[in-house]
């Protein structure tokens, strides 16, 4: 056991640093640092740069374009990416549907879909939740009725993040109701969102932004080739996907970055005021959170190390999601506390590149802090609520 990087790992770290220095676009960096929402174009551009480097698909098998990195390499890359505040990959294509396609899809599907995901040519959305279904996914009602060589889809998906920007959507649908268990009769299908009968309606979230959507399907016809794997096995595939999603949801590298920013901002002297970080109670909170984040970093590293010696990422990854979201939300709270009264102004206009600096309210992105806090309450709700995660851990890890 040792804590230091090996020579090879240090060399890799130098390469990654150099890459970010040379290739990470300055306009995107500026937007990120100033709290300005990225356009889809920004995100696509950055993904294509990563893809040119061969680093777009960190976790994919090498044969489909993955990196083949060791856990420590992945850790180094994630840290550098976060340290540069680079945009996280939109997960729906790269991290969600792609693993299902390369694991359970047929050769034709792999060839048709994977390259466009890798190159960020096609954006995907997730069609899991339904109104009324929530964390109880198996109660889903959206139907796919076989009609010759087509399925006819009817139903509604909800909480579809960035659904208004996506070209394709993957859905869990009910292909049969004549089953013993609700989990049976569910299939995994891929839908071109340009197909007639698909409509996307915005859901405005608590902080006032459009990030999620309801997607309605009315007699939407898709070819049977768009079924992934076997009919009726969608639930099994979906569970695998949820576990992939959880591995990536801890967000430790990003939390480390944000904690650094918090310390930086609260160390500043403003108009003769004592920096907040000198306040004993606040400093202890920052310290305690840093400790928890460090612990989670090692918990994740231990999990990855176990995976590297052949253990599949199993239900214990739920721990990473639960703890990871708890810490992200604790960070949100500290940013808001640090902002004080400046957490209150609801001034979204000032977050654009051409906004006059003199008119800006707050020293930095204080006026983002409460909005982020509100929005990010979703972190413990979406993707299987933390309550569901705890149920999973209780059942599958603790055997209760």
């Amino acid at each position: 056991m040792n804590v230091n990087f090996s020579e090879e790992e240090l060399a890799f770290e130098r390469d990654v640093k150099a890459f970010f220095k040379d290739k990470y676009p300055d306009d995107i960096r500026q937007k990120q640092d100033r709290g300005i929402n990225l356009e889809k174009e920004d995100m696509v551009r950055w993904q294509k740069i990563l893809n040119d480097q061969g680093w777009a698909a960190v976790n994919w098998p090498v044969e489909y374009g993955g990196t083949g990195w060791t856990p420590v390499q992945k850790y180094i890359f994630a840290n550098e990416s976060a340290a540069n505040n680079a945009p996280a990959v939109v997960p729906f294509g790269m991290k969600m549907v792609a693993p299902i396609i390369y694991t359970f899809g047929n050769e034709q599907q792999k060839q048709r879909f994977l390259p466009d995901i890798l190159a960020s040519n096609v954006w995907w959305a997730q069609g899991y939740s339904e109104p009324g279904a929530g964390s109880d996914l198996a109660s889903l009602k959206m139907r796919a009725d076989r009609d010759g060589n087509e399925y006819i889809l009817n139903g509604t998906k909800t909480w579809t993040t960035l659904g208004h920007l996506a070209e394709w959507i993957f859905c869990l649908v009910r292909t049969s109701s004549d089953v013993q268990r609700r989990q049976e009769g569910i299939s995994f299908v891929l839908v071109d969102m340009a197909t007639p009968g698909v409509t996307v309606r915005p859901i405005i979230t608590i902080e006032g932004e459009r990030e999620v959507n309801e997607v309605h399907f009315e007699n939407v016809r898709i070819p049977v080739e768009n079924l992934v794997g076997e009919e009726g096995k969608g639930w099994t595939y979906g569970k695998v996907l949820l576990q992939h999603e959880r591995t990536n949801i801890a967000g430790v590298a990003n939390s480390k970055y944000r904690l650094g920013k918090l310390k930086e901002r609260t160390s500043k002297n403003i108009h003769g005021a004592t920096p907040l970080l000198e306040d004993h109670a606040f400093r202890r909170k920052v310290g305690a959170l840093e400790i928890e984040i460090k612990a989670l970093e090692y918990t994740e590293l231990r999990t990855l190390a176990a995976v590297a010696v052949g253990k599949a990422p199993g239900p214990e990854s739920s721990i990473l999601k639960v703890k990871g979201t708890e810490l992200q939300q604790a960070l949100d709270e500290l940013f808001m506390e640090a902002a004080g009264y400046y957490a209150l102004p609801f001034v979204r206009d000032q977050y654009r590149l051409d906004f006059p600096t003199d008119d800006k309210i707050g020293y930095s992105t204080e006026t983002r802090s409460a909005l982020r806090y509100f929005n990010n309450r979703k972190a413990s709700i979406y993707g299987g609520s933390n309550e569901i995660q705890k149920n999973i851990v209780a059942k599958h890890v603790l055997g209760l």
Partner: protein, 376 residues
């Protein structure tokens, strides 16, 4: 020691409560909040006609002669209804200063309009660097003949954008955080040298950044004594803390009720989620948080009303507890509502936001725990 209400208090409470139930449902509240003004002028006139805007003022000033207890009863109901009308800014903050310091002429000119609802005011007690320290004031007031010249800026001034007049604390002498040397000036909001940048706040209230650039104010517009305003500001912020905390308790109780209701109707895995023991126990924790908060609200309000020596400790204790348990109650309400809890269309999301904003007003939990602990 007595927790019972007088008949007058009960009537006041009922009157506000009925208004919330009959005239101020969530849809109405949202349409008001999203209107250009951000509050209903019509309702504000109703508040005045019903005498609500006159509650804390002396009968000699045309008021009802009420105190912290009456304000508490009203604010709890305002919390329940998520009322956006600027009661706190006009009646508690501006009114609190005027009824203490204004002379007859000043009352005539400014207070009457506050009480009859015809004027909007704002107390600009915050500066960006000061966080929650009321004496941290670097806005300057320099004497110049019969006038004073004000320079500086004020941050997140509640009601500041639509106020007809402003009360500006400025430093006429002393150093940045000295309590001595702070003077209150009352100025027309349209005076030369004042620029305002108004905005909505995250809880659908209104505030503004205010810059003072060589603003000339006649000495007659000083409220009270030169350099001696701090104790008044401090006392008014205490009252505002009590009022906002009463609103918070009203919100917390509403969030609990709505969460209980939702959990009983929301079915997952074939049963209402209210049947899940883990959620039940958390809702019991919410209840305990609400009850404990209500208890300290009563203690602090009664102590302040009775002029008890423990009033300041009680206020800090209350704000600390409501800050910490309010955050917890709000987060749990959202979490148990699941995706709906983070949807703009759901009332719960907006109660949560207002509760969060109150946590940040007049000193957060850390600030008040330090204040309290300094005197144990």
């Amino acid at each position: 020691m007595d927790f019972s209400l007088t008949e007058e208090q009960t009537m006041l409470q009922d009157s506000v409560s009925k208004f919330i139930d009959n005239d101020y449902d969530f849809e109405k509240r949202q349409s008001i909040a999203e209107s250009t003004k951000g509050y209903s002028e019509e309702f504000w006139q109703t508040f005045a006609e019903l005498g609500w805007t006159s509650v804390p003022f002396a009968e000699d000033d045309g008021g009802f002669g009420g105190g912290p207890l009456e304000i508490m009863l009203m604010m709890e109901q305002f919390g329940r209804g998520l009322v956006v009308e600027p009661f706190l800014a006009n009646i508690i903050l501006v009114g609190g200063v005027l009824r203490r310091l204004a002379n007859a002429e000043q009352k005539e000119q400014w207070l009457n309009g506050i009480i009859d609802g015809s004027k909007q005011g704002a107390l600009a007690f915050t500066e960006a660097q000061g966080r929650y320290t009321l004496s941290d004031i670097i806005t300057t007031a320099k004497a110049d003949g019969d006038n004073f010249v004000l320079n500086g800026s004020k941050a997140v001034v509640l009601n500041g954008g639509r106020a007809d007049f402003l009360i500006i604390p400025a430093r006429s002498s002393g150093k940045q955080r000295d309590e001595d040397g702070i003077t209150l000036f009352i100025v027309d909001a349209k005076s030369a040298g004042i620029s305002r940048s108004a905005y909505q706040t995250v809880d659908a209230h209104q505030a503004a950044e205010i810059t003072l650039n060589d603003v000339r104010v006649p000495a007659a517009n000083i409220l009270g004594e030169l350099g001696k305003a701090y104790p008044t500001i401090d006392a008014v912020i205490d009252e505002a803390t009590l009022a906002a905390s009463a609103e918070a308790v009203g919100i917390m109780q509403t969030l609990l009720l709505k969460t209980l209701e939702y959990s009983k109707s929301r079915v997952q895995f074939g049963v209402p989620i209210s049947s899940f023991q883990a959620l039940q126990h958390r809702m019991v924790d919410m209840l305990m948080g609400c009850e404990q908060s209500k208890s300290l609200l009563l203690w602090a309000t009664m102590a302040n009303a009775d002029g008890s020596t423990e009033a300041k400790q009680a206020i800090s204790a209350m704000k600390y507890l409501i800050g910490t348990t309010g955050r917890k109650v709000g987060q749990e309400a959202v979490q148990i509502h699941g995706g709906m809890g983070v949807s703009w269309e759901m009332d719960v999301a907006h109660y949560f936001k207002r509760l969060t904003a109150i946590e940040l007003l007049f000193g957060n939990a850390d600030f008040h725990l330090d204040k309290y602990a300094a005197n144990i």
